[in-house]
Amino acid sequence: MSEVMTAPSAKVEEKLFQNRYLVDAGRPHIRVKQHSVPSASLLAMTRLCPAGCYSVTESGQVEVVADGCLECGTCRIMTKRTGEVEWNYPRGGFGVLYKFG
């Protein structure tokens, strides 16, 4: 393995800290539906979400905290077939506010 391959893993929280958000408190725009075992697509979101919003609970379910969401839609596309994620845009004006885009 080269040096590049072993570069320190990025902390996504530090990246999100640079961004501006207007969080719609109490009205998350993404919800994971109740499930006992997540599909492979939903489980993949724990790695695939560019904002690291998805995680696995102790009992093995996938949960989402969408406060840092970059509104890319990757989870929406990945889980369209399984229907495990309920995805909407944040209400008008809320969510990520790109300064440079």
């Binding site: 990757t74 008008g92 004006g93």
Partner: protein, 437 residues
């Protein structure tokens, strides 16, 4: 609310390059236009590398250079094939690009879109911000006659709705106008904005004044996935990012942000970003399915433009120019029908698709229709094996170590043959040439 009683000539959903182009062209011609944008201003939800292609905008606003927020005009293009420690580059730089009306500029979308949208308002369109369109309103015959938003329960009516809603295209998909985007036809790109003093950028990239350099990179940086990296010089910042097909990411163990970190710490990239301050981290989907992924583009009372219509030329990294052109052509179609007092029926709006066939948009997408599937189907070779072989060949050739040149040539050819069979390479070359024609 008076607005809900009014019937607009057209509603434009979204204020990115395609929506702004459509709304501007229609408003300029005197149509009564309502544009609806979910962000606090046009640009606040929009993400791109970003390169502006002058030609597409000149056809809409010929004198845009007078006040548009442009960063640098591109005078140097670098194409890099990378392995873990090297890059093999093709650079093209010409003083011809220092022309009176430069051909390409780097831009910051949050600022550029805001400017473009101000032009839309000046032209006479009404723009609603912080408002998300939730669904299309249809009459009993299925004709789209307006939209509903998250602001008010009552629908807003129009003769035609132009969907410039971006890659996710929720409104059109939920209304059954087109299928969901598939994970293997869309790329997820992540990007950071790195700030440096302008003199530092100019020294590092050998630029003077407002000259700009762009780097497009492929190779082992995407760890066997179909994708590319990029680095663009802005006035006082550098946009650096990397993107791969979503289904490749799903099959991989690497996170998008770890991939970006690895790209930034590549020995060819790291010195270019040294001592910079990161001020934003963004992510966005890019439709990369090409011609074969283009959905139905019009129907009774509606037209789709920009990313929502999959209008991206992934081979040439062009998208915003296709967006502006499809927005303009949609607007011209609607203007012509409005003047003739014709219905906004599917049969009449089919003129939009016919007009697009005559533009570079459809001609280019058709030309490359086989490329996305070819690259994706052979990703291990195109994004792993070949970049490594090229790097090894270059190193063998340039390293002076007492081995004679004839033996070096043999070693290079042997390495190619042993890593990838002659038939495999010829097959890939043949397929690439055929898909390129």
């Amino acid at each position: 609310m008076a607005m809900t009683e009014e019937k607009f000539d057209a509603i434009v959903v979204g204020a990115g390059p395609s929506g702004n182009a459509a709304a501007y062209v229609m408003a300029k011609e005197g149509l009564n236009v309502l544009q609806i944008e979910r962000g606090e201003y046009s640009g606040s939800k929009n993400v791109q590398g970003a390169i502006l292609y002058s030609d597409a905008l000149e056809q809409i606003i010929p004198d845009f250079r007078e006040d548009a927020p442009l960063e640098r005009h591109v005078t140097e293009q670098r194409m890099w094939m990378m392995d873990d420690k090297s890059h093999t580059g093709m650079h093209y730089r010409s003083d011809d690009f220092n022309e009176e009306k430069p051909n390409r500029y780097t831009i910051l979308r949050a600022q550029f879109d805001k400017w473009f949208n101000a032009k839309v308002r000046e032209a006479g369109a009404l723009v609603l911000y912080e408002t998300t369109v939730t669904e299309l309103v249809k009459d009993l015959k299925g004709q789209v006659v307006g939209v509903r938003t998250d602001r008010s329960g009552s629908p807003i009516m129009a003769n035609v709705v132009i969907l410039a809603e971006g890659v996710n295209g929720l409104v059109g998909q939920r209304s059954g106008l087109r299928d969901e985007v598939a994970p293997d036809t869309v790329a997820l790109a992540v990007k950071e904005m790195h700030f440096l003093p302008r003199e530092t950028i100019e020294a590092r990239f050998n630029l003077s004044g407002n000259e700009g350099a762009v780097i497009e990179a492929m190779g082992t940086i995407t760890k066997g996935m179909t994708g590319t990296g990029f680095l663009y010089t802005n006035e006082e910042s550098i946009s650096v990012g990397i993107g791969c097909i979503v289904s490749d990411f799903a099959d991989s163990e690497v996170t998008p942000y770890a991939l970006l970190e690895a790209f930034k710490s590549h020995p060819s990239i790291k010195p270019l970003l040294a001592d910079s301050e990161c001020k934003e981290y963004a992510a966005h989907l890019i439709p990369e399915g090409g011609y074969k992924a283009i959905p139905q583009l019009y129907g009774n009372g509606w037209i789709v433009v920009g990313d929502a219509g999959q209008f991206v030329n992934a081979v040439h990294r062009e998208g915003s120019n296709l967006a502006m052109t499809t927005g303009r052509v949609a607007a011209e179609t609607v203007i012509a029908l409005t003047r003739k007092r014709e219905e906004m029926s599917a049969a009449n709006l089919a003129d939009y698709a016919r007009r697009l066939e005559q533009t570079f948009v459809m001609k280019d997408l058709k030309k490359y229709k086989g490329i996305p599937a070819l690259l994706h189907g052979n990703k291990r070779n195109f994004f792993g094996t070949y970049p490594q072989l090229v790097s090894q060949a270059m190193q063998t050739w340039f390293r002076v170590d007492g081995v004679d040149k004839k033996s070096k040539e043999k070693a290079i050819f042997r390495n190619f043959r042993e890593t990838r069979t002659i038939f495999g390479m010829l097959g890939d070359a043949f397929k690439l040439v055929r898909a390129w024609r």
